[in-house]
């Protein structure tokens, strides 16, 4: 079990309990977190689960995957800490992870 903190663009914070093995996107969808659309269902194919990972957690979530890089590179909103939540696997190591959701998903 890992607690994940989702901070909305307006500052509202929600904490969910995620299961190791599921993705951060699945944890968000399963707990009704607003601001994550996940149109493609986790295929790294739509960039509608875009999140900004808190700087302190960047090392722990690992590097951007190739497929993710392709999708993020068509976004105007990409930042150095941009990730697709469907490509971050929950693990005990990520207990306490903090991500911010953008105001809009493409």
């Amino acid at each position: 079990m890992a607690k994940i903190h989702f901070i909305e663009h307006n500052g509202t914070e929600r904490v969910v309990e995620a299961q190791p093995g599921e993705s951060v996107m699945e944890a968000a969808i399963g707990n009704g977190i607003p601001g994550i659309d996940a149109d493609c269902g986790g295929a790294c194919a739509c960039a509608t689960c875009h999140v900004f990972v808190d700087e302190k957690w960047l090392d722990k979530v690992g590097p951007v995957q190739d497929c993710e890089d392709g999708m993020l590179s068509v976004s105007n909103d990409r930042r150095p800490n941009s990730r697709l939540a469907c490509q971050i696997q929950v693990s005990d190591e990520l207990d306490g992870l903090v991500v911010t959701t953008p105001e809009f998903q493409f």
Binding site: D37, D39, C40, G41, A43, C44, A45, C46, A47, C67, G70, M71, S73, V74, S75, N76, E103, F104, Q105, F106
Partner: protein
């Protein structure tokens, strides 16, 4: 004398269940106009999901018909290229218009980023009141209790007004946009043009018109319309004229045909499913979900084409470098392995956003949120005014295997 070419058969009226698999040719516009395509798609999904058609009017090509295979092709842009064209017809260099939908990274990415701001969700907030005002004025001008053509009076009018707004295009000339869009996607013999050569004159007129606007905008401060964005954008301001025309056509077609046909398709689907129409009247809060379902149901662009860059395998079939590969979104959207009860039009469908109509991967529809917003506002305002938009005659469908749409949809309005 040369041996006679194999006759290009008509697909219309053939039995999808018994005809030889290799003769199934989804590129035939006739089955789409006749609304006979669904059983052919179902047969291929069942018997030959990655299907090779060895001979057709557009040459040999692969058809990809299952949802998951389509996602795989769409997301593998290193294997399946969008160049030189995303249409099923191979066009000669001189007729080919370069546009970013038919480009691979990195050029695609920079050109797309230049213009996508105009349809970015941030900008849509500003557009919402304008769209609503225009929707209201169109709906308020419609005749009650008498037959008229919904395509002409609503679907075309609304999408054309929207395009004129996005381009900041002279409003009184806006029907030129519709005409250029129709010309650009027309198939010879379908009523708009007789040959591809016929496109030269209207597209030349289009280029001249937009060049005038470009010159105007490039000499003034950058603004928030598409022409100004192209004229001032670092990656686009030095585009050669035919590339400018290509991208203009892309934006016109992208914002025109697609939403237009989803506007018409929604009316038709609700008429064919009166219990869903009643659900909508009882609970207008379902509109955003219904909009996604309408877009799946209609699938306004039936396919996108890719070209294999290397030898590869898909669904157990060997695809060779250079082969033409067509992803039939219209089929993937009816794939029961991914979509629950796929042949049902179900306005409160769970996971309605999960459909293929916008494509997936780096070429995913850039205007998807704008399209959804236009449809949402339209239905919100329809429900405030009319009990029923009743379809009172057979719809006339587009002669195209690409643009899946309607030429005419006769309706009668019943006020609340």
């Amino acid at each position: 004398m040369n041996a006679p070419k194999r006759k290009v058969w008509s697909m219309v009226g053939r039995d999808p269940e018994t005809m030889p698999l290799e003769e199934i040719d989804l590129s035939h516009p006739g089955i789409w106009r006749a609304n006979e395509y669904l059983p052919f798609l179902a047969r291929l999904r069942r018997d030959d999901p990655v299907h090779y058609c060895p001979e057709s009017a557009v040459g040999p090509y692969w058809s990809v018909t299952k949802y998951k295979d389509i996602v795989q092709v769409d997301t593998s842009h290193n294997i399946f290229s969008s160049e030189p064209t995303i249409g099923i017809v191979d066009i000669t260099e001189e007729h080919n218009l370069p546009m970013f939908i038919a480009m691979d990274p990195p050029k695609h990415d920079v050109q797309r980023r230049t213009v996508q701001g105009v349809v970015a969700p941030q900008n849509l907030k500003n557009l919402e009141p304008i769209i609503r005002e225009r929707v209201c004025s169109i709906l308020d001008s419609l005749p009650l209790n008498e037959e008229f053509d919904w395509v002409e009076r609503v679907s075309i009018e609304l999408t054309t007004q929207m395009l004129a707004t996005l381009f900041d295009f002279p409003f009184d000339d806006r029907r030129k946009l519709t005409y250029w869009s129709d010309v650009a996607t027309a198939i010879p013999g379908g009523g708009v043009i007789d040959s591809y050569e016929d496109r030269a004159e209207p597209l030349g007129e289009c280029l001249d018109y937009f060049t005038r606007l470009w010159n105007e905008r490039v000499n003034s401060e950058p603004r928030n319309d598409l022409i100004s964005m192209l004229a001032h954008g670092e990656s686009t301001r030095n585009m050669p004229p035919h590339e400018f025309l290509g991208n203009i056509i892309l934006l016109i077609v992208g914002g025109n045909d697609t939403t237009r046909n989803s506007i018409s398709g929604g009316v038709l689907a609700l008429n064919e499913n009166p219990e869903e129409y009643q659900k909508l009247r009882d609970n207008p809060a379902v509109i955003p979900n219904m909009v996604s379902e309408i877009i799946r149901w209609q699938t306004p662009l039936a396919y996108m084409r890719r070209t294999a860059l290397v030898d590869t395998e898909l669904g157990g079939k060997q695809i060779k470098a250079g082969d033409k590969v067509v992803m039939w979104y219209a089929s993937g959207n009816r794939d029961g392995d991914v979509i629950d009860q796929p042949d049902r039009f179900w306005i409160d469908r769970p996971n309605a956003r999960q459909h293929l109509s916008f494509g997936f991967g780096i070429h995913r529809c850039m205007g998807n949120r704008l399209a959804e917003m236009q449809l949402r506002i339209l239905w919100e305002e329809i429900l405030k005014r009319f009990h029923t938009v009743e379809v009172v005659g057979e719809p006339e469908r587009t002669y195209s295997s690409f643009v899946k749409g309607y030429v005419k949809l006769p309706v009668r309005l019943h006020p609340l």
